[in-house]
Symmetry: C2
Subunit: 329 residues, 2 copies
């Protein structure tokens, strides 16, 4: 199986805001990257054509041809079915039961694999990033929402139906704010980017001064992105600082909950905010987590690291899973 | 290894209030049970002598002799080290670094194994009880405190150091009441028996009427045991009913957190209260858990069952782990 192991694979991150394609060689070296904004307003077929286009461009950028590529592997949001290559449900894309692998294969003439995007990100950080060398790992990815993944015995722990790892939808403040899932008090409703944006807007509405909305207008953003957060923090914006610090507190509690439940060797915090702010983001969350560890001695042992693959984590993880599948086939 | 597989083993539950020894034959049939109150005021050596005595009595009750027994296996509270047979720390016994297996072996002349009591309980329910037939299972045991255990791929998921499963010490109400561990808002501080007793006493102190303290006096109890809870509920005690219902709500949230994180096939709720009250205890917690499932379809699939092994769960689980170890040796 040496041939397959050394194959070049295109990893795709199908994000809610951008499409990203990475051409990755047998040594996991990135040969070419291309990205496009995600136009989620169109039908699935249109978005899948956009994906094919960005994959083709990335292959060209890498100086390769389709024939040089062994497979394409997509990290997709929502309930992805890696076995069938179907996306059962991706609310942020408006997708229901989309046969992504089959459709993309038709357009590209290449084998296509599908994995949940956060699972892919955790697999990526585990195989090639901040989780390398661990057997028991927890990944928590904070972006618009919060996703997670558990590595048990060196492999993704999918649970009984592949849906394990939804740490963002565990309650850390019962009867707290309403979450995107409709429940109250989930970690996502307290520590995600949308939760921070909700709190910043509420503070401004209640009369507190903040430059966040001005920064968003200046850069034509309708959402409080990680770069807006970073800029506001840099300028010492009081509202942003308070909201950010509260989100770090709840993230820390979520990390401690995962450590007390799962006893991992390490926790990796990934996603857009961590990619942008690094230790400025992770350090206060780590301090809270350590405070909430059941076994205080674990602060000596359990590392809480910032992800190192940044925006490439999901696509790289998708490549890693594709390589495993090719090896097994 | 047929001989060993069919061995008769004594399982011991070293509980904070009672010592329990079960003689269990090759078909997991209980041939004899003996119990004694736990005298935790004495030094470890004294308590270990008490354990030896109750084991000897159970063997007699079963109509057997020491020579008929292949091993003794103890489910012990706190940080048990199954490899070394040592209890690193058991706060409710005042034990630190007690070489339990070696000491008990000296007294009985039989091989002795040690396992954490809640881990043993979950293994017991998984192998012989309400968790039978599952590959992915979560056990939540509610007693004085709350412990848990995770079965992954059919085996106890110990995490990286054997300490996984401390679901009772995951925060479900950030900044909530102080827990036995010193942190705030853990599930144990909201849903355990001691948390219920705290709330009942506070309600009575604030002037609410309740028969709980009278029931405790009548039966010479200093603690609000499961049987006191059951009696007070049966008499329609308003304080007890309210406190009980609140604890079931938080238990339900804890169950949902475990399901959303781990995607098990089933959750077993064990421990003293579940043993005493069964569905009266589990049903409202199940209703809350179902409400908090991220994937609503999981209510059709993920079962939440009451443990069926009752007070024997820990000792039976200890027997199961001993049998595996004997088979491997």
């Amino acid at each position: 199986m040496t041939k397959v192991k050394h194959a070049t694979i295109v990893g795709v991150d199908l994000g809610g805001t951008s499409l990203r394609a990475l051409v990755v060689d047998s040594n996991n070296k990135v040969l070419g990257v291309e990205k496009d904004p995600t136009n989620a307003a169109q039908k699935p077929g249109g978005l899948i054509r956009d994906m094919a286009a960005v994959v083709e461009r990335a292959i060209k950028t890498a100086g390769l041809k389709r024939a040089d590529i062994a497979a394409v592997s997509v990290g997709a949001p929502g309930a992805a079915d890696p076995e069938k290559g179907i996306i059962h449900k991706a609310p942020n894309l408006g997708w229901i039961e989309v046969p992504l692998a089959a459709e993309l294969k038709k357009l590209l003439g290449l084998p296509v694999f599908v994995e949940n995007d956060v699972s892919a990100g955790v697999i990526g950080e585990h195989a090639l990033g901040a989780g390398e060398g661990t057997s028991e790992l927890v990944g928590i990815f904070v972006g618009t929402g919060i996703g997670g993944g558990i590595i048990t015995g060196g492999k993704l722990n999918g649970g009984s139906t592949g849906a394990a790892g939804e740490l963002g939808h565990t309650v850390v403040l019962a009867d707290g704010p309403v979450c995107s899932c409709g429940h109250r008090g989930c970690a996502e409703a307290l520590a995600s980017r949308w939760a921070m944006e909700r709190d910043v807007r509420a503070a401004i509405k209640s009369g507190q001064k903040s430059i966040v909305l001005t920064l968003m207008e200046e850069t034509n953003r309708t959402r409080m992105t990680s770069s807006i957060i970073a800029k506001a923090l840099k300028k010492g914006d009081k509202v942003m600082t308070d909201v950010f610090s509260r989100s770090q507190y709840y993230l820390g509690i979520l990390v401690a909950n995962a450590v007390n439940s799962l006893d991992p060797e390490r926790v990796v915090i990934g996603g857009g905010i961590a990619a942008r702010l690094g230790e400025e983001y992770v350090q206060p969350a780590r301090a809270t987590a350590y405070e909430y560890f059941l076994r205080q001695a674990d602060t000596e042992r359990v590392e809480i690291r910032c992800g190192v693959l940044g925006d490439n984590a999901n696509a790289l993880g998708a490549v890693v899973t594709a390589r495993k599948k090719l090896d097994q086939s």
